[in-house]
């Protein structure tokens, strides 16, 4: 029993941090732009298949192949903002439709160019094998993912708290109208927010690749975790996102290790539904990004 409790606690940290990493970029975009970015999953796909493209199809060095997709996701973020978000800012229904269609189109292209049988894999394993923590032997790569997610979250929080650009973004997230009156350059801020929001999914995807299957439909699976965490946390609020990620991580781990792993996913969904029924706007009020 002690072992199971220990495992539950450790995996609360691991799964919670991983969910945080997956949801982080989505929360930033929702917080600053107040846009429900349904094209978010394309960043997972660009990171994974972009790396494969540069590494195996274009025969570039592996390190460079990992770095170049970040340029691609930045360009993709800009294009999504320029041609979809900005274009339909005043017509949210059209924007949502355009964003989801864009994601589906990218998913289809990837599935045609790199079907599962193509055997795409990315050897981004940082720690081989497992790490011993007390009596438990745990996958080292998961610790790397957890650590990377925490570092990214800390950097973003510092960015929003300590930099002038971060301050402006917080102002936008608090009041779009007042920010407009004081002459904020919205286009620039929105583009920066979109690009900032595209980095965490790319990082998480590359680190997850050694422990999750890569297939053209992985974007939606990851996005589902991101939506669950972001909605529970209160859309666009980083504090809420952090709390929600670890709460879901804890429910998943404790049910999986102490009750029955088969029920872990269901337990998370039930708790999310109950909390949202009681607090429809999530754990934190979504009036500001922090």
């Amino acid at each position: 029993m002690i072992n199971e409790l220990l495992l539950s606690l450790i995996y609360t940290f691991i799964f919670g941090s991983m969910y945080l990493g997956i949801a982080l970029g989505f929360s930033i975009v929702t917080g600053v732009l107040r846009v429900f970015n349904l094209a978010y999953p394309i960043f997972f796909l660009i990171a994974a298949y972009g790396t494969w493209l540069f590494w195996r199809d274009l025969n570039l060095p592996f390190e460079l192949s990992i770095a170049l997709p970040f340029v691609l996701v930045a360009v993709a973020s800009y294009l999504v903002y320029k041609f979809v978000v900005n274009k339909f800012m005043e017509a949210e229904d059209y924007m949502l439709a355009a964003l989801i269609l864009l994601f589906l189109a990218v998913e289809q292209v990837v599935s045609i160019v790199y079907p599962e049988a193509a055997g795409v894999f990315i050897p981004t394993r940082v720690i081989e094998g497992s790490v011993n923590v007390g009596p438990a032997s745990l996958p080292g790569q998961y610790f790397v993912i957890a650590l990377a997610s925490l570092i990214m979250t800390a950097l973003y929080v510092m960015f929003f708290m300590k930099t002038k650009t971060g301050l402006v973004m917080r102002a936008i997230s608090q009041s779009y109208l007042v920010s407009r009156i004081i002459g904020v350059n919205f286009n620039l801020m929105f583009v920066i927010a979109m690009i900032l929001g595209s980095i965490p999914p790319a990082v998480v995807m590359l680190l997850l690749a050694p422990v999750w299957a890569l297939n053209p439909f992985i974007g939606w699976t990851l996005f589902a975790y991101g939506i669950m965490v972001a909605v529970l946390g209160g859309l666009g609020n980083l504090k809420g996102t952090i709390i929600a990620a670890y709460m879901i991580g804890a429910i998943y781990s404790f049910v999986a290790y102490l009750v029955n792993p088969r029920l872990a996913g269901l337990a998370c969904l039930v708790v999310v539904v109950i909390i949202l029924a009681l607090k429809p706007r999530g754990l934190a009020r979504a009036e500001t990004i922090w």
Partner: protein
């Protein structure tokens, strides 16, 4: 004879010959163009599958490879062969619409479906309505006990339907028994964990199955008992101790709790009853970095049927055991086995167990048509072809010995094949795939001479040994 008489005879003969020829020329019909040979009506095969998914594309392509071979060889019994494809999107309504179009509009004589069992069951209902006006044969490679049981209980209504695969309730007993025998006698383990994909096809493996079915054909009425013990009982009968058992939800991405559970229970071997629904790639990647990585891991179905599974897992499959069906030197159960694999690989296609069956299904259709034509019948007498399919073996089957391919055996495998028990392979260093099946395995279906040549149980290695460079 005088010269005058001889000259008179010659003149008479010449006149007779010239006159006769002239008469013949006058009375003969005028020469015309050569009448064209009577063109035979083509035998039409419809392929219903989803080409957007890699594995299903491979299965559809396997059937096409067989049809193209028949076309090159001049058709079936002198009749040309045509085929046409429909995309079912693996959706029931789309599949039914495609099926109607194939049978009613295009006039298919044979329909081969790749799809989920719900599609097949829906097609059987639709086919029962179509058959009286549009006789045809519907073949399916897949699971679901109902497919076979429906044909057994209502033969007149569903006689056109064949499950050109093994019946799940027999295969899911015999295959695990063969697998557990290997675990005990080749891997030398005694404590095992069982993880079962939580899908309809594994219900019998999880809970067991007991039913009585009455087989009713025009000639025979027979009561048949169908029985499937749950996996845990099969393992115990084999002398293994099941220390951990869990159901894996379809679509899950987190296998660590299951793997940790198996490890905590002291398992030496994990058997995963998986199919394409389980994300076996993620499972293996997580196993390779988990605390359970030193425990033998055996997978049932899924992308592990391909040698490229090694790449798909980025080498995490080191030590994983599975049936693998596209090994170039696969055991030559028939002369067609290895050439088929080579052809598919040559086209950049992967071969899983079902791909073998789709290829073989076309040849089984061919044998049935030939059987009818050899006896003076027509290939378009579908009732006769159905009877032939029930009677004739398929000698070109790539995974089953010919004697196991009779589709009309009056038992629980009626209109299905008996269980295929494929050999086991282990992924070893650099993705090398080694056949580790035991030669003495009583469930083995290949001749002993082949088993001795191809089975190498002595080469099995523990995952830890392999990681250490063994």
């Amino acid at each position: 004879m005088s010269k005058k008489v001889l000259a008179a005879i010659i003149v008479v003969v010449v006149i007779a010959v010239v006159g006769g020829l002239s008469y013949a020329l006058i009375t003969a019909p005028p020469p015309g163009p050569t009448p064209p040979p009577v063109e035979k009506k083509p035998i039409k095969i419809a392929l219903l599958y989803n080409p957007a998914i890699s594995v299903l594309k491979g299965q559809g392509e396997a059937a096409k490879v067989a049809i193209e071979e028949l076309q090159k060889a001049g058709g079936i019994a002198g009749y040309p062969v045509e085929y046409k494809e429909w995309d079912t999107q693996r959706k029931v309504d789309v599949a039914v619409a495609a099926y109607r179009e194939a049978v009613v509009d295009w006039g298919a004589h044979f329909v081969l479906l790749e799809g989920v069992s719900e599609e097949m069951l829906a097609l059987m209902e639709e086919g029962a309505k179509l058959y009286p006006k549009y006789p045809h044969i519907l073949g399916y490679v897949g699971m679901a006990a109902e497919v076979t049981i429906k044909v057994m209980e209502e033969y007149d209504k569903y006689k056109f339907a064949f499950r050109l695969f093994d019946a799940d309730y027999t295969a899911n007993v015999l295959r695990p028994l063969a697998i557990f025998w290997e675990a005990k006698n080749v891997l030398k383990v005694s404590k095992i964990a069982i993880l079962i994909e939580e899908a309809a096809w594994t219900l019998g493996a999880r809970q067991g199955l007991e039913m009585t079915v009455t087989l009713k054909t025009p000639e025979v009425t027979k009561t048949i008992r169908i029985s499937q013990k749950p996996l845990r009982e099969l393992a115990r009968e084999m002398g293994l101790t099941v220390v951990y058992e869990a159901n894996i939800p379809v679509g899950t991405k987190e296998f660590l709790p299951f793997l940790e559970g198996a490890k905590a229970a002291g398992a030496e071997y994990i058997f995963v009853m998986s199919s394409w629904y389980t994300d076996c790639i993620t499972l293996v990647k997580q196993w390779a970095v988990s605390g359970a990585r030193d425990i033998y891991l055996e997978l049932y179905g899924g992308p592990n049927h391909w040698t490229v599974f090694w790449n798909l897992t980025g080498g995490a499959a080191l030590g994983v055991i599975s049936g693998v069906f596209d090994v170039p030197d696969y055991i030559p159960i028939s002369p067609y086995t290895q050439p088929f694999i080579a052809k598919m690989l040559g086209r950049g296609l992967r071969v899983d167990m079902s791909a073998h069956y789709y290829y073989s299904a076309v040849y089984h259709f061919k044998r049935a048509v030939e059987y009818v034509v050899e006896r003076g019948g027509s290939p378009f007498d579908i009732d006769a072809v159905i009877k032939a399919l029930e009677r004739v073996p398929c000698e070109e089957h790539t995974l089953l010995p010919a004697e196991m391919t009779i589709l009309g055996s009056l038992d629980e495998n009626f209109h299905s094949y008996p269980a295929c028990l494929p050999p086991h392979y282990q992924f070893q260093r650099d993705g090398k795939v080694v056949c580790i099946s035991g030669i003495e395995n009583p469930f083995r279906q290949v001749p002993e001479e082949l088993a001795r040549r191809y089975f190498h149980p002595e080469l099995v290695k523990s995952p830890a040994e392999l990681r250490a460079g063994g």
